[in-house]
């Protein structure tokens, strides 16, 4: 088993986004803050009555431009909020953001869906599922506004079962058709509130997974939740997220999901079981997960208390590395693990600390999605991504009597796994001539953050 101190560090990486500068005064109960301590995002306002979100598509370019900027404001606000300190609620909001992957053109929808997930991140999965399924952002994204009695659209019903609850192979194509009929009439009004439209609802008898009745959307959700497979599916996914991208054993999934199911889908209970397990603490699961781009970025900001001069840099980095919050690649979310790493993303990751803290410039060109109303390229040549950190403060914090000690404390703080010996030697060389404490700490931080070890959590 790993040492108590190493255990705390591992917990911070997996249940938070890494070690924060307050680590010395940190204790585990801070992870379980009550939900009334929530920090809800509040950077955009609810749309006015006269602006029908359903008509966004027909509106002029300026509306899109404004929406895009506002969604990116929500994005930046969330990144900064995640970077304050290790926070399980933010961490779980991030998990649900990927699980219930959704895109919307309406900034308030994006912010509100995110806040709903934050409030229920550790509550009941049944409530969370219902809230998300009835949210205008999701209903719009999965085309349920177009799901009408004589003109069913199966997209919503399919994804709810395939990606949100049961997983592939646990329902039939007929189940999708019948569920879609039950969801007819689920929509939202111009004020952005869920609305059931009886005239668009198919009142007929449906047969869903062997049961027959005049089912409504809520009945379908309840029947899905009654099936322990939903508990297994969520447990397996959360287990992989918290423990290992390679997944956890079927027997553990069974043990945890039985308890999750019996508890009435209490997410906090499931999280506690996973975090308290021996498997979680097993050294072979420590420092072996590849950080996603957002995890990498949040970690850097948390460990340096860094602040960007220009929020556009935040967006640029997310785009360069392939994970922009609120812009998942599709409804199945971002694929984890090795999928983050390719020749160009790795090269960019390894140069990122120098771009942030050494004033280096980049001429990296981010991808264009082709959408004139989407994220636009501002590929005007070279750019700086300058991020301000208080190096004097960090130097005070990390400087020890001997240089080796300083480097060793920094290594322990910055990395989830020890440096390879040859890399430790290299960091020592890089910092050899630094006599000034501030310079030493800064160059040590940049060097360690530039290594593959730093990509792991």
């Amino acid at each position: 088993m790993i040492l108590p101190q190493a255990k705390v560090k591992h917990l911070l990486y997996r249940a938070g986004f890494g070690t924060g500068l307050q680590i010395d005064s940190w204790n585990e109960s801070a992870l379980w803050k009550k939900s009334n301590d929530d920090h809800l995002l509040n950077v955009v306002n609810k749309p006015q009555l006269d602006s029908d979100p359903r008509e966004m598509k027909d509106k002029a370019k300026e509306v899109f431009e404004k929406s895009r900027q506002e969604i990116m404001k929500v994005n930046a606000a969330w990144i900064m909020q995640m970077s304050r300190q290790p926070d399980l609620r933010e961490r779980m909001t991030f998990f649900w953001h990927n699980h219930f992957a959704c895109r919307t053109l309406v900034p308030w929808f994006a912010q509100d869906l995110n806040n709903q997930m934050r409030m229920q991140a550790l509550g009941s999965f049944s409530d969370l599922l219902t809230t998300v399924s009835k949210h205008p952002a999701m209903l719009q994204f999965l085309n349920n506004q177009q799901n009408r009695k004589d003109h069913p659209n199966e997209n919503f019903a399919r994804e709810v079962m395939e990606l949100f609850t049961l997983g592939r192979g646990h329902y039939t194509e007929d189940d999708i058709k019948e569920a879609a009929r039950a969801f007819t009439g689920w929509g939202f009004n111009p004020q952005g509130n869920f609305q059931f439209r009886p005239r668009q609802h198919d009142e007929g008898v449906k047969t869903f997974r062997g049961r027959t009745g005049n089912f409504q959307g809520d009945d379908i959700i309840n029947m899905i939740l009654e099936d322990p497979q939903t508990s297994i599916f969520i447990t397996r996914k959360l287990g992989a997220f918290l423990v290992s991208d390679d997944g956890v054993s079927d027997s553990l999934v069974k043990e945890w999901s039985d308890d999750f199911y019996r508890s009435g889908y209490r997410i906090d209970r499931l999280v506690r079981n996973i975090l308290n397990s021996d498997t979680f603490a097993d050294p072979k699961n420590t420092g072996t997960r590849i950080k996603s781009p957002v995890e990498l970025l949040v970690g850097i900001l948390m460990q340096t208390d860094g602040k960007f001069e220009d929020d556009r840099s935040l967006v640029f980095i997310q785009r360069a590395l392939g994970q922009v919050l609120f812009f998942p690649p599709n409804v199945s979310g971002w694929p984890p693990g090795k999928a983050w790493i390719d020749s160009s993303s790795l090269t960019f990751r390894l140069t990122l600390p120098r771009l942030l803290f050494s004033g280096d410039e980049t001429d990296f060109r981010v991808r264009d999605e082709g959408d004139v109303n989407g994220l636009q390229n501002e590929n005007a040549g070279r750019r700086r991504l300058h991020c301000n950190a208080d190096w004097s403060l960090l130097a005070n914090r990390f400087t020890k009597k001997r240089k080796e000690e300083t480097l060793s404390v920094m290594e322990d703080f910055l990395l989830s796994r020890p440096l390879l010996p040859e890399n430790r030697k290299w960091v020592a060389q890089i910092t050899e001539k630094k006599t000034d404490d501030k310079e030493l700490v800064k160059s040590g931080f940049i060097a360690m953050m530039s290594l593959p070890e730093y990509q792991m959590c």
């Binding site: 360069a320 599709n330 409804v331 020749s343 160009s344 004139v372 390879l420 040859e422 593959p452 792991m456």
Partner: protein, 396 residues
């Protein structure tokens, strides 16, 4: 039921690859060629944003076209007529020449069932070669590498860009992204990077990072060295696409073992004032592609090269009120090269009298084209890569 089978298949095949243990120290082996007997090359050019196919290949005798496009319809006198009923956009003079020389095949009415009108989703579908109701996290070229290229280098598939798109990502293998060979080589020959590429990870997950760094450095150097001795004298237009295709031309000249090149041109999302904007892009495309074809011809590589151009969707037949067009469905797709079996028009013009909710109806699933390219051009197992046997076509 068929869908379920296919999903099940993909799931199984992914699990199978994921289970392959990481092979340590296989470094140095990756300059070997792809495991196939052919030395054919595929160049993919992606037009991002949804190119308006109807104003690219214009049905200049069709009254419905002019009726639904009173402003945007291209005057039949200006259309570059190539057949009795179809002609090219005036900006496509060079493409007309390729057509006349038998180096161009136009396939009309390409799409997929239940089309999605969102850019990112439809592009996702085209790049992963999925159905519109499934989500596949690997790309079709990436899976080609997985199937065909165990142990060969990531330079087997090159994307001429700074970052790597979904199409090029397999579950084990990935292509390599580079905007130009010099730039990537500069980045990876730094002492910091070089040093890393000589280090091994002490655990499989981190080893993957070290392996990728080492591969990147080695491939970057290999590509740079190859390309630096194969400069072309052909004049390429000084445009974004012109520069990308020049890089591709020089790499093909160099005899490098790259099988697939991928380049994109963006800006086709013409909701507003489409006319000039699309013509500018089509002209950029036409000039760059014709320079590539002449260069390939001159270097004797045209016979073994096939260029394929697609866009994520076409546009609505009816113009909108802003002098533009909105997102549509089926579209035309272009093939260029020296080995086309059916130059000219592969099939008939879109039927404007038979629209589905005002949109063109697809006739050919794009995965039939991918399947044909994989099977007949790259000699790969199209069924395994696409997860389903799509009927093959006889364009190559």
């Amino acid at each position: 039921m068929e869908q379920l089978t296919r999903r099940g298949f993909l799931k199984r095949s992914m699990l199978a690859t994921a289970g392959t243990a990481l092979i340590p120290q296989f470094l140095k082996a990756w300059e070997g060629p792809v495991n196939t007997g052919s030395d054919n090359v595929l160049v993919i050019i992606q037009l991002s944003g949804g190119n308006d196919g109807l104003n690219t290949v214009v049905p200049y005798r069709n009254d419905i076209y002019y009726k639904l496009r009173p402003q945007l319809g291209i005057n039949s006198e200006k259309v570059l007529k190539v057949s009795d009923d179809l002609g090219f956009n005036p900006a496509w003079g060079s493409m007309q020449r390729l057509y006349d020389e038998g180096h161009l095949t136009v396939i009309n009415n390409v799409g997929y069932p239940n089309p999605d009108r969102s850019h990112f989703r439809s592009m996702d579908i085209w790049q992963s070669a999925s159905g519109s109701d499934e989500h596949i996290t690997t790309g079709w070229i990436g899976r080609y590498l997985d199937a065909q290229c165990k142990g060969c280098g990531s330079h087997s598939a090159l994307e001429i860009d700074d970052s790597l798109g979904l199409a090029m990502r397999g579950s084990e293998m990935k292509g390599l992204a580079l905007l130009d060979p010099g730039k990537l080589f500069q980045a990876t020959k730094q002492p910091f990077y070089k040093r890393l590429s000589e280090v091994d990870g002490d655990e499989p997950h981190i080893a993957y990072l070290y392996k990728t760094a080492a591969e990147t450095a080695s491939n970057a150097q290999y590509i740079y060295e190859k390309s630096s001795v194969s400069a072309t004298a052909t004049t390429f237009p000084n445009t974004e696409l012109g520069k990308k295709l020049k890089t591709i031309a020089e790499l093909i000249r160099s005899g490098i073992s790259t099988k697939v090149y991928y380049a994109s041109l963006s800006g086709f999302d013409t909701h507003v004032r489409q006319g000039m904007q699309q013509e500018r892009l089509l002209s950029q495309y036409s000039e760059a592609v014709s320079a590539l074809v002449s260069d390939l011809k001159q270097s004797g590589n045209l016979g073994r090269t096939l260029i394929m151009t697609f866009s994520e969707f076409g546009r609505r037949v009816t113009e909108n009120a802003s002098g533009g067009t909105d997102h549509g469905t089926a579209n035309n797709l272009f093939l260029m090269g020296g080995s086309l079996r059916k130059p000219g028009f592969f099939n008939g013009a879109p039927d404007l009298s038979r629209l589905n909710e005002e949109d063109l109806v697809y006739q050919i699933d794009f995965r039939q084209i991918y399947g044909t390219l994989l099977n007949r051009w790259l000699q790969a197992d199209d069924k395994a890569i696409l997860g389903e046997q799509f009927p093959l076509m006889d364009f190559v």
